[in-house]
Amino acid sequence: MDRELYGPFVTSVIDIIKEMTDVEIEGMDSMVEEPGEIPSLGISSIITFAGGKKGRLLMDMEPTLALHMANTILGEQFHDVKDHMVLSAVAEINNIVSGNAITLINNRLSMNLRLAPPVVFAGKDAIISIPKLSSQTAWGNTVHGRIRINVAWEGSVG
């Protein structure tokens, strides 16, 4: 159950980012428990889901990677990570990654999960905290910067 709830997000982020931007994510082989506060790498997107269980996916990356992905997807040259189009591109990637993972989970576990639209934010030294939720993080490296996903589910998983 544990693997079935966390694993699809890892697979999905690797596959979708490769498919949409041709960026290879390496090193995302395992997930580790994330204690408390999460210092952002620079640009983060949170998407929550509800239904049979509540949870959320945080996708966090370095600004260089966000810019590269936005430039590739949109075919333009953005230089400011806070540009609305860059933020929208990151939010959309998170939406597709989460949609793909949630579809897999719903098909396997009939959890009737539903996604909310993503929220995206950018900032130096921002700290993200999701109280009362234990979460698992997977780190990845790309040639354009680091990325991590953090998945949390309410209640016991297992």
């Binding site: 509800a50 509540k54 934010f121």
Partner: protein
């Protein structure tokens, strides 16, 4: 965008928050529309938000300075402000959003505006700001209790 229903629901939220702050911390809170007030000098450094699943998905958020969060959470928990850790503040204001959203959820449970709660989350940083697409219906209120100020925002997403 002006949206009467969103305005009404936002009133439920700000009233609920005012009541919580009155009961738990003894603060009298006044609320004004952000667009009708002078620009604030307050620079939010801590924010808590929650996505609400309903007929229209919505985000609600509270933003304030660390010092305001510390005073509110101190009153709520009985712990001195200087003894509160950053994690306590993050947890505390997320809980504030949770309480407020839970109360409004009950109020709207048998109406077309009923919604599901999701997990609240907190963000810390300098001069935090939530930005939505301009076309989205949204509401912003400044809540003031003495010298403390809280920015409440709500938007369909």
């Amino acid at each position: 965008m002006h949206n009467i229903e969103l305005e009404k629901i936002a009133e439920f939220f700000t009233e609920s928050l005012s009541q919580v702050l009155r009961m738990m911390a003894g603060f009298e809170v006044t609320s004004i529309d952000c667009n009708q007030s002078d620009e604030t000098s307050m620079k939010p450094s801590i924010m808590a938000a929650m996505i609400l699943h309903g007929a229209k998905d919505t985000i609600v958020s509270l933003a304030m300075e660390h010092s305001t969060a510390a005073v509110i959470i101190a009153y709520m928990t009985g712990v001195l402000p200087e003894e509160l850790s950053q994690q306590d503040l993050f947890d505390g204001i997320a809980e504030l959003v949770n309480i407020m959203a839970g109360e409004v959820k009950t109020m709207l449970s048998n109406t077309p505006h009923h919604f599901l709660l999701t997990s609240p989350f907190s963000i810390g940083g300098q001069n935090l700001e939530l930005i939505y697409k301009e076309s989205l219906p949204q509401v912003c209120r400044r809540l003031m209790a003495g010298e403390m100020e809280i920015i409440f925002q709500m938007a369909h997403i």
